[in-house]
């Protein structure tokens, strides 16, 4: 791995995003709009339901968006010949992976800062714990999404297929993360499955931060999400073959 090459790749990915105004708007503005919509849905209901579901959504956005964006962009690199060209150059596989992770991690940080800012500032989401930690969880989540997106892009031939992986990999995690049914109340087998899905830990961390000032558990959850992200990057590295058919 070479810091110069990693930085070059991260900078390039960011330049490409800057060029693509539509994608940038979707990445940054859409989460804010959706979280506002959610707030509005619960506005007339008694109690503070938004406080219960809001944090889960803050964990999901970076994961979903980065998963989609990374799987499509890396698929483009694979099919467009630019990956082959880079692999014929003195670029390490980790340079490529970390370059993407850094770029999308940065975008995720901005995205979460906006979504968290709106949720806490405008929509009165109660966060008892440190707000900055919420953003850290979101970034870890985004890197996780990037890592998984990178991995699945190896199994897609077209962008159309890559997008189809989203429901397969992301929706089960959304269903089982504790948003619809609290995880302890799930049937035993499903609870066990939700225990091995990384998004569950991200949502746990977010929900914990809304209720408590203690951060010990959050760091534990964060470690699990980070471990999954590293495992995803390792799997992704396995799919980047210098020599291919």
């Amino acid at each position: 791995m070479n810091p110069r090459i990693t930085a070059a790749i991260a900078a390039r990915v960011l330049t490409q995003l800057r060029r693509d105004h539509r994608t940038l708007a979707i990445m940054l503005v859409l989460p804010c709009l959706l979280i506002s919509l959610l707030w509005w849905m619960f506005d007339d209901l008694p109690g503070n339901s938004f406080d219960r579901v809001g944090p889960a959504l803050l964990a999901m956005f970076p994961f979903i968006v980065m998963f989609l964006v990374t799987s499509v962009t890396t698929l483009r690199e694979r099919s467009g010949g630019t990956l082959e060209r880079l692999l014929a150059m003195p670029m390490g596989k980790l340079d490529f992976l970390f370059g993407y992770a850094i770029a999308f991690g940065l975008v995720a940080a901005v995205q979460s800062a906006l979504a968290v800012g709106i949720s806490v500032g405008l929509l009165d989401l109660t966060i008892v714990g440190p707000v900055w930690l919420l953003t850290v969880v979101a970034v870890a989540d985004a890197v996780l999404g990037s890592a998984l997106g990178l991995f699945v892009s190896a199994f897609a031939r077209t962008e159309f297929q890559a997008v189809q992986f989203m429901p397969a990999i992301v929706i089960p995690q959304i269903l089982l993360c504790g948003l619809f049914v609290p995880r302890p109340a799930l049937p035993g087998l499903l609870e066990a499955i939700s225990d091995v899905l990384p998004l569950s830990y991200a949502v746990d961390a977010m929900q914990h931060l809304t209720r408590s000032t203690s951060t010990g558990e959050v760091w534990g959850d964060l470690a699990v999400v980070a471990a999954y992200a590293v495992a995803g990057l390792a799997l992704g590295a396995g799919t980047l073959r210098r020599r291919s058919q």
């Binding site: 110069r4 090459i5 930085a7 070059a8 790749i9 900078a11 390039r12 330049t15 490409q16 060029r19 693509d20 467009g80 010949g81 630019t82 082959e84 060209r85 880079l86 692999l87 014929a88 150059m89 003195p90 670029m91 073959r241 210098r242 020599r243 291919s244 058919q245």
Partner: protein, 241 residues
């Protein structure tokens, strides 16, 4: 047949490539000398791109000896010395030419001046700030070629770099290839257009994963008793059948 190793950029013996369950290159022996433009000619699907991928070190399923500047193809130390242009222009559509070149230059550890030099070399200065997606096919493939020129590689592997170009531009590019060869670069150019054969110093005529002929255009025409390479190709194929 043995030549001095210093004269040859590439030396290949018994090269066989299997893709999936199909053998696509069947035991090739050849060399590519420095200081010449070697043309790899044959119909599409005959194995030209596979052969080029072998030299660059990105092809799987390779048996036989393939050495580039005395080292096994794909060796890490070679990655700075080979410029490679894939068949589809492998540059980023959503970046400008300058941004593309600056990026690849940084990956190679080169400065911006080198990026500018290569943009000039392919005559794209007027379009340097245009986003690649807005360029014509020919301009794109020249942008891709510019990337391959970064850092003055000693071996250039160019997969159909002149396809679809306007004749004037094609002429310019061939002149460029000869200029580079004169400066000591080994240039390997593939094409499926037989009339480009005459522009090469040496030819490898290929069909179905084997070489039909290996020599200068004049030699090949004389041996086949044909007026041009297209007819030479035909008479060799029919003679073998």
């Amino acid at each position: 047949m043995m030549k001095n190793a210093a004269e040859n950029a590439v030396e290949v013996a018994g090269l066989t490539v299997v893709r999936g369950r199909r053998e696509v290159l069947h035991g090739l022996d050849f060399t590519i000398p420095v200081g010449q433009v070697t043309g790899l000619l044959g119909p599409s699907g005959c194995g030209k791109s596979t052969l080029m991928r072998v030299l660059v070190g990105v092809q799987a399923g390779v048996t036989g000896t393939v050495t580039v500047f005395g080292e096994a193809a794909g060796a890490k130390s070679l990655r700075h010395r080979i410029g490679y242009v894939t068949q589809d222009p492998s540059v980023y559509d959503d970046l400008s030419i300058t941004e593309n070149l600056a990026f690849f230059a940084r990956v190679l550890g080169l400065d911006r001046a080198e990026a500018t030099r290569c943009i000039e070399a392919v005559d794209l200065v007027d379009h340097a700030d245009d986003v690649v997606a807005q360029l014509s096919g020919g301009q794109r493939s020249r942008a891709s070629l510019a990337v391959a020129l970064l850092g003055n590689p000693s071996l250039l592997v160019l997969d159909e770099p002149t396809v679809g170009l306007d004749p004037v531009l094609r002429e310019d590019l061939w002149n460029k290839f000869h200029e580079l060869a004169a400066a000591g670069v080994a240039v390997l150019v593939s094409s499926h257009v037989m009339d480009e054969a005459e522009r090469c110093d040496r030819l490898l005529l290929m069909r179905d994963g084997v070489f039909l002929a290996d020599g200068t255009p004049t030699e090949i025409k004389q041996q086949a008793g044909a007026p041009d390479i297209e007819h030479a190709f035909l008479s060799i194929v029919r003679g073998a059948a």
